[in-house]
């Protein structure tokens, strides 16, 4: 995998979030005014209101005109909800199931039973972690072969039990390392892709942050593929693409643009089925709204899928990826 995500992101969202500087300034000012009002009992509510309106306008203007590269940075924002946050805030309960029962337990992929608004599911998700320690421990969401094999093992269990599967994608890419190659990183991903086409239970896939190439697709085959509004999904990281095409890190924003990796772009190409709306300025600004939208959308898709006979479901899943975004009549059909 080329161009891992920047591993030195700052708590304020990192260097890529410079485009939000004015927004941050307004947010700081607002916080100060609110503190002042609390401390001194002064009536400055009109000032506060006007600052709030200004902030809302600025946020709207900035996010209406977000470049692809800026959006990638929102998807990588250090405060953006990660799989652990969804587990804690969206589901009624969660029981983690560990290990691939062959080599080890990859912390970069979490699997377990979860209940979403009364629906029992098998949850599979990349785990990025929030604190530096967490992030290091789970390789910043870069999974090893044992992670993909753990995922497949739990998904097969779900199939056996007749439980639908929900996968949450949030990875810069599968881990490029010696151990990963020795244990068959490529084969593990390939087995998952193939295996997910055989699973006789509904699968919903959601890209919640970073959809990094094969590492994402390794848990990315489903009856519905959704994206959070500010997530991205790409064949290669913008950094990797810029390094290969122009050998120039400065041109990373151009690469992000060229790759067409945003939810609206991919939706336009017909590569994803639905976009889950985020609050203005990204899920981290008001996670509760993001969680509510997520819960409602996922529940709806599972309800729709549960009405489809299983043979038809598996067949449609294959047909969906077989015809993926191809122009009608472009390719021959072999009956």
């Amino acid at each position: 995998m080329v161009g891992m995500a920047d591993e030195t992101r700052k708590p304020d969202g990192g260097p890529g979030m410079a485009f939000e500087r004015e927004i941050h300034d307004l947010e700081d000012q607002l916080r100060e005014l609110e503190d002042l009002s609390k401390r001194t009992q002064l009536d400055i509510s009109s000032e506060i209101d006007s600052l709030k309106a200004k902030l809302a306008d600025k946020l709207q203007a900035t996010y209406d005109d977000l470049s692809a590269w800026e959006q990638v940075n929102v998807a990588r924002h250090s405060e953006r909800p990660v799989t652990g946050d969804y587990i804690a805030n969206v589901f009624d309960d969660f029981i983690e199931l560990h290990g691939d029962k062959a080599f080890g337990d990859d912390p970069a992929i979490v699997t377990g039973f979860a209940t979403l608004a009364g629906r029992r599911l098998m949850l599979v998700g990349h785990r990025k972690g929030r604190t530096t320690k967490d992030r290091l421990q789970c390789n910043f969401g870069c999974a090893h072969p044992e992670g993909y094999r753990k995922a497949m093992r739990k998904m097969r269990l779900a199939e056996k039990l007749g439980i639908p599967i929900l996968t949450l994608i949030n990875t810069p890419g599968a881990y490029p390392g010696i151990g990963a190659e020795e244990r068959g990183q490529a084969a593990a991903i390939a087995e998952n892709i193939l295996g997910m086409f055989h699973l006789r239970t509904p699968i919903v896939v959601v890209v919640i942050g970073e959809g990094g190439s094969g590492g994402a697709l390794g848990i990315g085959v489903g009856d519905r593929v959704l994206m959070m509004q500010y997530a991205y999904y790409s064949v290669i990281s913008p950094e990797g693409c810029a390094a290969i095409l122009w050998k120039d890190g400065e041109r990373t924003p151009d690469a992000a643009e060229a790759l067409r990796l945003t939810a609206p772009d991919l939706s336009g190409l017909g590569l994803i089925d639905d976009v889950i709306t985020e609050p203005l300025g990204g899920a981290h600004r008001d996670p509760e709204i993001a969680y509510a939208n997520f819960r409602e959308t996922i529940a709806r898709h599972f309800d729709e899928l549960s009405a489809v006979p299983i043979d038809e479901l598996v067949r449609d899943r294959r047909a969906k990826f077989r015809e993926v975004a191809s122009i009608e009549g472009r390719f021959p059909v072999i009956a």
């Binding site: 490529a186 193939l194 064949v235 290669i236 590569l271 089925d273 067949r315 191809s326 021959p332």
Partner: protein, 375 residues
Amino acid sequence: MSPELEPDVADESKKKKKKKAEAKDPQAPAPPTLDVPAPALESKDKEKEKEKEPPASGGRLSRLRFKKKDMPGGLWLKCPDCARMIYRKELEEKGHVCPSCAFHFTLPGRERVSSFLDPGTWEEMFADLTGLDRLEFKDSIPYAEKLERTVKKTGQNEALICGTGRVDGRPIVLAVLDFKFMGGSMGEVVGEKISLACDIARTRRMPLVIFTSSGGARMHEGMLSLMQMAKTCAALATLNDAGGFSICVMTNPTTGGVTASFASVCDLTLAEPSALIGFAGPRVIASTIRQELPPGFQRAEFLLEKGQIDCIVKRDDLRETISTLIDYGTAAWEKYPAARESDRAETELDERRTEAEANGNGSHERGAVDAEVTE
């Protein structure tokens, strides 16, 4: 996916053709990127970089990283492994295998087809399918133009060649990825042709044999290329359900999205000796983990030792070995002359659908959702 290959190892024949072309027409300006199909083949900058770097792996295989320019042009060339000078004609006669150390040079697609199949049995299919620049990808040269030039240069429309033929009398479907066409990278057409090859193997009930040499997904087609990994596996899943039999032979080099999809999930995974096979390219790994890679890392012998491939087969033995494997793979086919259960179920489903569509209930749900989102 993983564009970090060692082009100097891989594409010897390309060099030859380029040299010939230059010799014929010395006035022709050297097109700067024509011979540098992305993502796998890299320009001089990278080669310079490489020269500065110490070889990532030690031992015998590290010598594979010799520069193309070390080889004198014309009739003689130097083996990147044992450094012996080889007479070009002799190399070609030996099937692009070094007569001294048996190093397997990357074989051009057409030569693979002609050397693997029984003479006169090849029937190419879907040769007219061409790539499209659907993202209007902004590179230094537009992708559409790059495609056009590559088609002109290679005389074929895409990186995958497929069709039917016979191996020692056995009918097979053959698909060959050609590294000289944009590094054998997988875009829409490559993914589609692999899928069509699976369909042909299923409907005509023939074994499927795939030869790979590829840098991975084709970056210029963005997510459309990543989705080919899923598409090819979907076609393989249906072939598997129908009781098909598939063999993939990974040749130097096979990396990225090709290794991480159809190439790794055929019934049997074979490799040519010393082929570079992996997910991430060696340089990406070295720069990520900041340590030296073990000797022979990601070579076929290494993968065999780690239990990742079924066997290594020398180029000379491929026809015989694969014939035998096909006999094992299809031994039980006579017992199942009819289509399997899943096939019948699918046909019934098709019939029901056609009926439904005829009755005007054919609106596709996904289409409806898409329309809502794009609004």
